[in-house]
């Protein structure tokens, strides 16, 4: 390495770091999903650990903490799988921790369909 290379290298690192800093300043907490359209609607929420709950969305924050009213909690057992009528609890007004929310979807507009992935053996 020649002498100019050694001198230029720290300068380049500084420029790159400054660019990163500007990017972080501009990149505020932009939500990719607007939950205000779901306010006062019935939604289903799935959590890390297998719990599911549904209720009326009353509030939320950018960290995805939710306030649900009239909450029903479903627990998943080995033989439960999709039988959500087992082990339901009425919880009422509930705060859901955003760090453990994995899925939010509307309660309506879903129906069970026959398994499309089963291979036919007729060949």
């Amino acid at each position: 390495a020649t002498l100019p290379d050694i001198l230029y290298r720290p300068v380049i690192y500084c420029i790159i770091q400054n660019l990163d800093f500007q990017d972080k300043e501009k990149k505020k907490k932009e939500s990719i999903f607007d939950l205000s359209t779901y306010i006062d609607k019935h939604i289903r929420v799935k959590f890390q650990g297998g719990r599911e709950a549904s209720g009326v969305l009353k509030g939320f924050d950018p960290l995805l903490n939710l306030v649900l009213d009239g909450t029903i909690e479903y627990m998943r057992d080995p033989d439960d799988q999709y039988k959500l009528t087992e082990d339901t609890r009425q919880l009422g007004l509930v705060v859901c921790r955003g760090t453990s929310v994995v899925l939010i979807c509307p309660q309506d507009g879903m129906e069970a369909i026959p398994n499309p992935f089963i291979q036919q053996q007729d060949g």
């Binding site: 505020k28 907490k29 939500s31 205000s36 306010i39 959590f47 890390q48 650990g49 719990r51 709950a53 009353k58 509030g59 939320f60 924050d61 950018p62 960290l63 903490n65 939710l66 306030v67 909450t71 909690e73 609890r89 919880l91 009422g92 007004l93 509930v94 705060v95 859901c96 921790r97 955003g98 760090t99 453990s100």
Partner: protein, 86 residues
């Protein structure tokens, strides 16, 4: 975070609801099968303080005095909850 939270003034903020619950009973559901019932003493963005503990799996109730609960594993908070069929 505070600037974007004011999307709709008539909605209920989650941390506001938890804040209202300070000093009264709260029921905390963890990611696993543990649940905690007690009096909420305070919280910050990550942690909570409670009083007594209930484990519904073997119906084992462990009474603790004051605990500092790590918010990492919390799934739900139910103000005024009494726990599972206490």
């Amino acid at each position: 975070m505070a600037a974007i939270a004011s999307t709709n003034p008539s909605q209920l903020l989650p941390l506001e609801l938890v804040d209202k619950c300070i000093g009264s009973r709260i029921h905390i559901v963890m990611k696993n099968d543990k649940e905690i019932v007690g009096t909420l003493l305070g919280f910050d963005d990550f942690l909570f303080l409670c009083v007594s503990e209930i484990t519904p799996e073997g119906r084992r109730i462990t009474k603790l005095d004051q605990i500092l609960l790590n918010g990492n594993n919390i799934t739900m908070l139910i103000p005024g909850g009494e726990g599972p069929e206490v």
